[in-house]
């Protein structure tokens, strides 16, 4: 029977309570002095102090000294969230020679001072939380972290520039990397661009060498046209199941000679070419683009005659000849690998402008997205680098509309960060290729970055027009004779203070960046979180930007939020370094919050067994008792709450400890 109102035997327990000011962050709202005095009055408390910054070296030294001089055996620190500094203070306890789990933290910054205005109420709440912690900590038992060995292999998901860079960094450091890409080739969005801002160096020239390096690196196992379908395990020991979609080509046999493509019974392209965003057609057997890695063709069963009727002449097989690389019977295959760390670099998708009907996309054929124009400008694109309209004519005037699907409460609220710069780049390239008058419609020009503002200057010099105003409508409604047959862009020129109507031949929509359509599925698969917008959530926005709340899973590139190429590469490097730091330690320490069965009390009812999602509970037939496998247990405590006889307990979250906490927050001093 539990005692609801009594204290646990204080006996030899000697508690030190430390209240942090966090500068004015806490002290501004909570009366820290009063709290410290109040704590001193609580049973079991031997020392109580408040200090400016408990997490600082002198702050930690204060605790260590007190442990020695006052013979403390329990410590309560009231400061910020335990997720920030629990580890810091546990180390301090450890250094002072007492078990680190004799610590209890009280979150009086995020949960009190930053969210309440009323000083009196905030102080009262703090008192209650301190009381609870003091009661709880008296019951703490000494615990030991578990050491688990780490598998040194790393999985990288996504073969865009971020994934490529992370994979190469790890592989160069001698680690075995599994790179999984769902498209038939790596390269991602960057491979679609012609030039990159602000230096205007050719995207292919800087990307292709890296792609080839991935393809030939002895330490990289590249799996394209593949997807991760299942992830089990935990930090250092993940089991990952990968599905390989059939490309109807035997990878090992295909040389990439492309004879089959030339030989296909279709003499012209048949299906919309995905890589060119449907601006051109490709055959049922194809290579996504000339520099694709791996250089292996793909057969699209949706358009291939053999798949439809089985009556094709199969000229492709003839052309392949002795290699026999084509296999119409290929099936999808599954493979399981083991890795210690995972880097997600799954990228972004561009905003679909049909969601914003006023910009005319889909209604007027000469309204393009920026990505489509990237393909038009690209020398290996559908028009071999010619910027022309659908009828093949060169535009004399072009309007570039910024912020389509960005900074808009009706679609996406966020700034997509890269559009201003890529719009400038497109303005430059379009003007260079066509000599057209180019108008940029922007809300604010955002060019923070090395050499970016200078690039803006250059565009101003080149005579590109800049109209500050969000475009209200693109339409074919002509009011003035000069507008007949044109697309009229209507926007307020906010710097001039009136509405302008500007007729153009071509409209380019600078579409914003969005989370991938399946970001939520991927997030669930890898057990991480997303921000409310759908971007993968980092562990800390400033101090842990590539870590997630799931240990051993890192994020890089635009899957975390809009990013340009330099930033994506920098993040990929950071994620690779984090993964390296993790696996090079060889062991990882796990929280000891596991559950265990008190054999003498277990009635053998087996009701806990289905509760565990990890199959960590086994039933010992000989003893007729349940038993928790500590290695498999992840410490959620669901079985503990579900045990009808109360015979399962969870380290650090024992019933008594939680009851003490509940009583503590409720009982009034």
């Amino acid at each position: 029977m539990r005692d609801l109102h009594g204290w646990p035997d204080p006996g030899p327990i000697r508690i030190g309570v430390y209240v942090c000011h966090c500068g004015a962050n806490i002290a501004g709202t909570v009366d820290v002095r009063a709290i410290s005095e109040y704590a001193a009055s609580l049973p079991g408390v031997a020392v109580s102090r408040d200090y400016k910054y408990m997490c600082s070296d002198p702050g930690q030294a204060l605790i260590k000294d007190d442990i020695a001089s006052h013979d403390l055996n329990r410590v309560v620190v009231a400061s910020c969230s335990p997720l920030l500094h629990e580890l810091t203070f546990r180390r301090a306890l450890n250094a002072a020679g007492i078990n680190p789990f004799f610590l209890q933290m009280v979150n009086i910054r995020e949960h009190v001072s930053w969210v309440h205005l009323d000083k009196r109420a905030a102080t009262e709440k703090t008192q209650a939380l301190i009381r609870a912690a003091v009661r709880r900590v008296s019951l703490h038992k000494p615990l030991q972290k578990r050491r688990v060995p780490i598998n040194p292999n790393v999985l990288v998901v996504g073969g865009g520039i971020a994934g490529i860079h992370a994979a190469l960094t790890l592989a160069d450091a001698g680690k075995q990397v599994h790179l999984v890409e769902r498209e038939p080739t790596i390269g991602g969005h960057m491979a679609m661009f012609d030039k990159t801002f602000p230096t205007l160096d050719c995207a292919a020239c800087i990307l292709t060498p890296k792609m080839t390096a991935v393809g030939s690196h002895p330490n990289i196992a590249l799996r394209t046209y593949s997807e991760v379908v299942q992830v089990d395990g935990y930090i250092g020991n993940y089991k990952v199941k990968i599905k390989r979609k059939p490309r109807y080509i035997i990878d090992e046999l295909c040389l990439g000679c492309q004879e089959c493509i030339a030989a296909c019974v279709y003499k012209e392209g048949k299906a919309p070419d995905e890589f060119n965003l449907g601006l051109s057609k490709r055959k049922p057997v194809y290579l996504p683009f000339p520099q694709a890695v791996p250089q292996k063709v793909v057969i699209d069963p949706e358009t291939c005659i053999e798949f439809k009727s089985g009556k094709c002449k199969k000229t492709c097989i003839e052309a392949c000849g002795e290699r026999k690389a084509i296999d119409f019977k290929q099936k999808e295959t599954f493979e399981e690998i083991e890795v210690g760390a995972i880097i997600l670099a799954t990228g972004f998708k561009t905003f679909a402008p049909v969601r914003n009907p006023n910009c005319g996309y889909g209604r007027y054929q000469n309204v393009y997205t920026s990505l489509e124009v990237e393909r038009l400008i690209n020398a290996s694109g559908p028009t071999s680098g010619e910027v022309v309209l659908r009828d093949g004519k060169r535009p004399h005037s072009v309007g570039i509309i910024h912020c389509v699907g960005s900074r808009d409460a009706n679609t996406n609220r966020w700034c997509s960060k890269v559009c201003c710069m890529y719009s400038l780049k497109l303005a430059h390239l379009v003007k260079e290729r066509t000599g057209a008058e180019v108008f940029n419609f922007y809300i604010d020009m955002r060019t923070p970055g090395k050499g970016y503002e200078e690039f803006y200057d250059r565009l101003l010099d080149e005579g590109v027009h800049f109209v500050r105003g969000r475009v209200a409508e693109v339409s074919d409604w002509a009011v003035h004779p000069s507008e007949e047959g044109k697309l009229v862009i209507r926007a307020e020129d906010t710097l001039a203070g009136f509405v302008r109507r500007i007729p153009v031949d071509m409209v380019i929509l600078s579409v914003g960046l969005e989370p991938q359509a399946d970001a939520q599925d991927v997030r669930r698969l890898f057990n991480i979180s997303c921000s409310s917008e759908g971007w993968f959530l980092e562990r800390h926005p400033k101090l842990a930007p590539v870590s997630t709340f799931t240990e051993g899973v890192f994020i890089a590139g635009a899957c975390q939020g809009p990013k340009d190429i330099p930033e994506s590469v920098a993040q990929a490097g950071a994620a690779a370094a984090e993964a390296l730091a993790l696996i090079d330690a060889q062991f990882v320490e796990m929280e000891p919050y596991t559950a265990s069965v008190l054999e003498e009390e277990c009635s053998g009812c087996k009701s806990c067994i289905p509760l565990c999602p990890y199959q960590a509970i086994a039933f010992l037939e000989d003893k007729k008792k349940a038993s928790v496998n500590e290695v498999l247990c992840k410490g959620c405590g669901t079985c503990v709450a579900g045990c009808p006889s109360g015979s399962i307990q969870q380290n650090f979250f024992e019933d008594e400890e939680i009851f003490a906490e509940i009583e503590g927050v409720l009982s009034y001093a």
Binding site: P357, E473, W477
Partner: protein
């Protein structure tokens, strides 16, 4: 299906044809309407702009009367539809508005508890009746009559939940189901000038001209409207706006008139005789018997 029918003042004046044709449509589709007992003016936009609280109270009386009958309201007039909906939204969002209206209603022995849904005929025809059911009852197909749908402002913006606010299509789908061919032009939700024609005539005439000429340019043989004021503006000032720009003559009808025609109602029972720009010759050309 039974609704409280709220005609509003215009449908008893310049918009009589709207009422006549709409009632014919609802009759043909077996939807029962019961005129809201002793309804009063909704407050409309003019009132809204100078004394909004008063207009919420006026709208509130109508809502309360419908709630007492436990009926949802059908409001065909765009201004009424907007004001009634807006009143509901604002009573929820602003306690001071709720209090003012609640008190005013209490003074005349009424209460309102936000249980009434304010519906537009387009919404009911599309979602409660359905295109299939309507198409099945078409007796006199419109035979490719080229119609420019004109939605105007206040039906779709800002409170409609039954159609896309920026690119509405409900009227297109309804009339297509009756065999008409819809003309796509970019001004179908652009304002006709509303009451501005009465107060600042020159501006109103410009806006009217833009709409007429765009619809005409894309080959429209008639314009279909959902609002008595739009219909009035577009039909009555074709000459004046033509004098300022270039003359255009095009019949402007209510969508319900076309619908009623397709469902087999005789022309003189659906207000076609009240048109200032008669649609008769266009129908005759298409060999749509309309007598």
């Amino acid at each position: 299906m039974k609704f409280a029918y709220y005609p509003g003042c215009s449908l008893r004046g310049t918009g009589r044809a709207y009422e006549e044709s709409l009632l014919a449509v609802f009759r043909a589709l077996d939807i029962e309407l019961e005129e809201l007992d002793d309804w009063n003016c909704c407050g409309a936009t003019t009132y809204m702009s100078v004394d909004e609280l008063t207009s919420y109270a006026l709208a509130g009386r109508n809502l309360a009367l419908a709630e007492r009958k436990r009926q949802d309201i059908v409001a065909p007039c765009a201004a009424c539809y907007l004001v009634l909906n807006k009143t509901q939204h604002y009573m929820e969002d602003y306690p001071e508005i709720k209090l003012t209206v609640t008190r005013a209603l209490a003074a005349i022995g009424l209460t309102y508890d936000n249980h009434v849904r304010v519906r537009h005929p387009l919404d009911i025809l599309l979602n409660d009746v359905g295109l299939k059911a309507i198409a099945a009852k078409v007796k006199r197909p419109l035979k490719g009559l080229k119609v420019a749908p004109y939605y105007g402002c206040q039906i779709v913006r800002p409170y409609s939940t039954f159609d896309d606010q920026r690119n509405p299509t409900s009227m297109d789908r309804l009339l297509e189901a009756c065999g008409a061919k819809m003309v796509h032009y970019s001004l179908k939700t652009r304002c006709c000038g509303g009451s501005q024609k009465g107060t600042l005539p020159e501006i109103g005439l410009d806006l009217i001209h833009y709409l007429l000429s765009e619809a005409h340019k894309y080959g429209a043989e008639a314009i279909a409207t959902v609002c008595p004021l739009c219909q009035f503006n577009l039909e009555s000032f074709q000459k004046e706006s033509g004098d300022r720009h270039h003359p255009i003559s095009i019949p402007v009808v209510y969508f319900s008139q076309l619908l009623a025609l397709a469902l087999g109602a005789p022309a003189n029972k659906i207000g076609l005789q009240r048109s200032l720009v008669p649609i008769g010759s266009v129908l005759a050309e298409k060999e749509i018997a309309y007598a």
